[in-house]
C-alpha cells in the first residue's frame, strides 16, 4: 500500500516498544494476532504495536488468557469494520 506513513519495526523493536518479551511477540505471530509486513521476513508494520498493546492491556486488566484476548481483538476488529460500513451506508 502506498502510504507516506509506512515504516517497519523488527520483532525486538515491537517487543521493546510494548514492554513485553520477544517470545510473546513471536507467540502473537503464531496465533495470527499480528502479521509480518508483506514482503519482509521479520519486520512488522509499525502500527502492530497498537494491537500488541491492546492485547497486553486486555490480558492484564480483564484477567483473560492470551487466546481469549486474541478473540476479543478479532471481534473488536469485526465491530470496527462493521461500524465503518454502517457509517458509509448512513451517508447514502
Amino acid at each position: 500500500m502506498t502510504r507516506s506513513t509506512l515504516s517497519v519495526f523488527s520483532l525486538r523493536e515491537v517487543a521493546v516498544r510494548c514492554g513485553v518479551d520477544v517470545e510473546l511477540v513471536q507467540q502473537l505471530v503464531e496465533l495470527g494476532v499480528i502479521e509480518r509486513a508483506p514482503g519482509t521476513e521479520a519486520a512488522f508494520a509499525c502500527e502492530v504495536t497498537l494491537r500488541v498493546g491492546k492485547l497486553v492491556r486486555l490480558q492484564r486488566d480483564l484477567g483473560v488468557n492470551l487466546e481469549g484476548a486474541a478473540v476479543i481483538i478479532e471481534l473488536l476488529d469485526r465491530i470496527e469494520s462493521l461500524e465503518h460500513e454502517l457509517r458509509a451506508r448512513d451517508a447514502g
Partner: protein, 313 residues
C-alpha cells in the same frame, strides 16, 4: 477537585461485603475498559473504577477511607487530616481513630501498607495510578468527509495529549486518498514510555456526507434531474471528488438508474482509481405553474405508461 465517592464509583452500598465489591469492580472493568468500551468517558470511568477498587479491595485502606473520606491518603501519608476531613468523618459517621494520637503517622502508615510500596509512581505520591498503557504508542480517531480524505492536506485537530491529558492542537498532514481504517502516524507524538517517545496514530473514519459515499474503491453520488431530462435525456453537470464533469443522461432514465463513470472513483492502493456511480433521482417542482399543470395533465391523458402493472388505468 470534586469529592470522589468510591462506593458510588462501584455502585455498591457502604456496607457491601468484599465479595460484592469485587464483583461490581469486575463488571465495571469490562464495561469501561478503554479498549473495549464505546462509552464516551470510558477512559475516565475506568480510571475511577480502578482507583475506587484499589482502595476498597484492601480492608485497611477501606477502613481509612471510611473514616477520613478523601483525606485518607493524607492521613496515611502522615499528614494531619485537612480541616474538611472532619466533614468526611461526620458524613461517614466514623468514630474512634484519632490521628492526633499518633506522633508519627508515617510509621503507622508503613505498618499498614508495608512501606513505600505505593509511592513514587509516575506522577508521584498518592495520585491514582494512571492507567498503564502497556505501549507508549497510542491511537485516536480522526473523522474526515470523503471530500477531505480524497484531497488530503494539512489539518489542525484537537486531541487529548496522552501525557498531560489536556486538549492540544495537532497539525496533521493527511495523505491524499487516505482510506477508512487507515492510520496516520504521528511519530513521537504518543505517550512517553521510559526512553521511548511513543507514536500517535490517527485512525481515519469517514464522516457521512450528503454528497458522496465510499464503497470499496467506488464513490457513489446522486444526480438530481428534472422529469423532462429524465424522459428525454440530455447532459448534466455532475460534481465529482475531482471537480465537475458533464455527463450524459440517457433518455428514459427513471430514479435509481446508475450512470457509471469509469476511473472517477477513489484512488486505489494499486495507483488506479475506482469508479464513480451517479444515481439518477428525478425531482419534481413542489409547485406547478398553471401551464405546467396543463401540459402534465395532457401527458397523463395520452400516455400509455403505467409504472404499476397492478394498478389498472
Amino acid at each position: 477537585m470534586a469529592y470522589k465517592d468510591y462506593y458510588q464509583a462501584l455502585g455498591v452500598p457502604r456496607t457491601a461485603p468484599e465479595e460484592d465489591i469485587k464483583k461490581a469492580y469486575r463488571k465495571l472493568a469490562r464495561k469501561y475498559h478503554p479498549d473495549v468500551s464505546k462509552e464516551k468517558d470510558a477512559g475516565q470511568r475506568f480510571k475511577d473504577v480502578n482507583e475506587a477498587y484499589d482502595v476498597l479491595k484492601d480492608a485497611k485502606k477501606r477502613a481509612l477511607y471510611d473514616q477520613y473520606g478523601e483525606a485518607w491518603k493524607a492521613v496515611a501519608e502522615g499528614h494531619a487530616p485537612p480541616p474538611d476531613a472532619q466533614r468526611a468523618r461526620e458524613d461517614f459517621g466514623a468514630t474512634g481513630f484519632n490521628p492526633e494520637e499518633f506522633s508519627d503517622m508515617g510509621s503507622v502508615f508503613d505498618a499498614f501498607f508495608g512501606g513505600g510500596r505505593f509511592r513514587g509512581g509516575q506522577r508521584g505520591g498518592w495520585q491514582a495510578q494512571p492507567w498503564p498503557a502497556a505501549s507508549a504508542d497510542q491511537e485516536a480517531a480522526i473523522e474526515l468527509s470523503v471530500e477531505d480524505a480524497f484531497r488530503g492536506g494539512e489539518r489542525s485537530v484537537a486531541l487529548l495529549d496522552p501525557d498531560t491529558g489536556e486538549r492540544r492542537q495537532y497539525t496533521v498532514r493527511i495523505p491524499a486518498g487516505v482510506r477508512p481504517r487507515q492510520r496516520i502516524r504521528l511519530a513521537g507524538q504518543g505517550a512517553k514510555g521510559g526512553d521511548i517517545a511513543g507514536d500517535l496514530y490517527l485512525n481515519v473514519q469517514l464522516r457521512p456526507s450528503g454528497r458522496f459515499r465510499l464503497e470499496g474503491d467506488d464513490v457513489h453520488t446522486v444526480l438530481p434531474v428534472a422529469p423532462w431530462e429524465a424522459a428525454l435525456g440530455g447532459t448534466a453537470t455532475l460534481g465529482t471528488l475531482d471537480g465537475s464533469v458533464r455527463v450524459k443522461v440517457p433518455s428514459g432514465s427513471s430514479s435509481g438508474r446508475k450512470i457509471r463513470l469509469k476511473g472517477k472513483g477513489y484512488p486505489t492502493s494499486a495507483g488506479t482509481h475506482g469508479d464513480l456511480y451517479a444515481e439518477i433521482r428525478v425531482d419534481v417542482p413542489s409547485e406547478l405553474e398553471p401551464e405546467e399543470r396543463q401540459l402534465l395533465e395532457q401527458w397523463a391523458a395520452i400516455s400509455k405508461f403505467n409504472p404499476r402493472p397492478e394498478d389498472p388505468r
